[in-house]
Symmetry: C2
Subunit: 459 residues, 2 copies
Amino acid sequence: MGLIKFLTIAAMLFLPSIAITQTLDETTQNEAKQLIKQGLQSNVGYTVIESLTTEVGQRLAGSDAEARARDWGVAKLKALGFQNVRVEPFQVMYWKRNAESAEILMPYPQKLVITALGGSVATDADGVIGAIVKFPTLQALKDAPMTGLEGKIVFVDEYMTRTQDGSGYGAAVQKRSGAANEAGKRGAVAALIRSVGTDHHRFPHTGQMSYQEGVTQVPVAALSPPDADQLKRALSRGEVTVKLVLDVESLGYQESGNVVGEIPGISDEIVLIGGHLDSWDLGTGAVDDGAGIGITVGAAKVILDRKKTPKRTIRVVMFGAEEVGLVGAKAYAKKYKNDLGKHIVGAESDFGAGKIWRFETNFGESKLYKAKEFQTILEPLGIALGANQASGGPDMGPMRMLGMPVVTLKQNGWDYFDLHHTPDDTFDKIKPEDIAQNVAAYAAFVWMAANMDGNFKDD
Amino acid sequence: MGLIKFLTIAAMLFLPSIAITQTLDETTQNEAKQLIKQGLQSNVGYTVIESLTTEVGQRLAGSDAEARARDWGVAKLKALGFQNVRVEPFQVMYWKRNAESAEILMPYPQKLVITALGGSVATDADGVIGAIVKFPTLQALKDAPMTGLEGKIVFVDEYMTRTQDGSGYGAAVQKRSGAANEAGKRGAVAALIRSVGTDHHRFPHTGQMSYQEGVTQVPVAALSPPDADQLKRALSRGEVTVKLVLDVESLGYQESGNVVGEIPGISDEIVLIGGHLDSWDLGTGAVDDGAGIGITVGAAKVILDRKKTPKRTIRVVMFGAEEVGLVGAKAYAKKYKNDLGKHIVGAESDFGAGKIWRFETNFGESKLYKAKEFQTILEPLGIALGANQASGGPDMGPMRMLGMPVVTLKQNGWDYFDLHHTPDDTFDKIKPEDIAQNVAAYAAFVWMAANMDGNFKDD
């Protein structure tokens, strides 16, 4: 390569790129770069997760523990220096687990490790006993005749595929509701599923299910992966009879709430971030979603510490009752639907504690150039540009469907479903350096969104 | 290198080495090499483990399940073509777990994952409640004053070191008995220990403990590693009160037994191999010690299939009640102490399901040259020569102490204490290729020992 050509390319590489339309001024870009630096050095996200998982632990939607988590959230946001800290209450149906067990009665007596799916009806106190009928997939059960399963226990043995982007989850999760509904329609007395997860440990994965209108409600539980293997091996030798005991109950509507804190801006336009405060009851909700709370609170705290007032208000929400049907998110959308136009963009962190590898958007087509501008700032963190089909995270769903633009700072979910909804979702699984990368990315994104020119919608 | 020199070295490498004293004739060496080949291709070890863990599952010493395991063992050995298949009964104290739970009452109410140690006394039905006093090591507790712990719950937070040879286990296991004994001497009401294990999953590790004579017997349980972490974090913030409920019981002496099968030789001298049939009650006893059963039965089966009569009798023993104090091994030694001279060598497989990497012996000094001869045959399997201090495995201990030579075909134990004595010790953790390597090594070793000249003792 000749010297002139080398210098020309070098100049192209090192000079700032000049977009025809530019949404981020140099001051905002520089501040975002500074926030990345500060975020990578900050441990506040990590310590927030430690605090929540230790001082509250599990915090099932509607429980006393979730109420303690709200108290924790209010105290934490105030202590960190947020403004307008408040709980926005709503009601949630409170389902709880008391005790649960399963065992092979015949031909090889032994206990099985299971857990009730959220929302399942209980069995009688003596449990339900039935011969197992296995289906490799939910579709195979749906394709089964409407007779022949009376008095049986259905076992849906569908596996989940491990992927970086969690795309295996959607397919696998169908069976959580589908197994019980299809079993109930066919006169079966209960349903078991292979846990929705990607690990090989003896932890069952819980998760919400719901019954279709008018279908006989049968109890449903998830087997740990090794127990699903065990049941399958036993079945390969002949008929297997299982006893299932689920002592669970629905205790009617109880108070839940979203915890909100703000960094007030010059305008009342809002950049909305957050995670969900509730967790399943088996673990301590570290990766789901203590991480999301820590990352978004931590990012806003890094901004706070810079003591610069953003143009727009930065609002952090700890959503309540996500796991049982986005109840907090729906309450938020109901409360703020008339403020929809003030919501410039929303982003929830709720995909574990791995590093962010992709910046996904859901913007108006005419504003897509902004995605590239934002991603360019985030690129040193190892973040590429993704498609313009972001969900924004579960709790952004209701507002997104009303029209709010969203982004997803997509985390590496390769290992997420090893821990997801299991007793093993505990603080020791959190890596401080991964949380710091998330905090850095969120801080920079939020600052840019709060200070950019214009918005993300088609005009 | 010149051609002559090359040919000379090649000749040295490829000609059989000629020892001054040689214990293995060429026929025996060739048969051993053939057995390695067959062993590596055999899946019988793997299928025996699958059969035991599926058709019996957990098999706690003294339980009905252990009795079913003996029935399984007799049927399996007969089906595989062993001779003189029998149960040699003995009595064992039967301790069992009914239910167990623990929770932090104050200041952060939440459940803890624990399991009673084998042999622990029960708590009252309402449980025991006390403030936690943490000690970093058992030694720190031993060094504590004899007053000041009255009414407290002692927590020994000692960690175990991960090693390939399991050398971290001996130190860590001391606390299983030590914690309760030292707590009882000082008026504490219960003891908790960080599980003896090397993993970070939310599984507690059980294991046997025993009370010293005359010491107040207090209940003792192991916390899973994440729960030990959680308790430590809570304690770093101030006083923590815990409630512990252990519903366990000792049901007196029950029948157990060793299952024995043989490949009869020309002489009644014995080469003794085996594993232990009992397991802890939490998992299905796959790596501890379904693997040892599968490996040794599988190795003998590979020999059987060659349809050649060994000079000496090959005896395979499935020892009962190992976990609760080598009860089966002691019964074996008592029964056969007068046949000690006929026992040429013994080797138990009881260190998980990893590949063998070292051939350790416990021979008379004058017979150490045989160790090298044996190891040379095993070397293509990746097996080096170890020290002359082999234990031979736990169940060879009583016979070794009487004077029986032993070998240890030492497995890679790097991951063994991740699963050891947990609910996660299940069949999916077994790798068929690793079991085949073990089967090949045992088959070759056993054949050589059964057909060599002389013995392993100093004359």
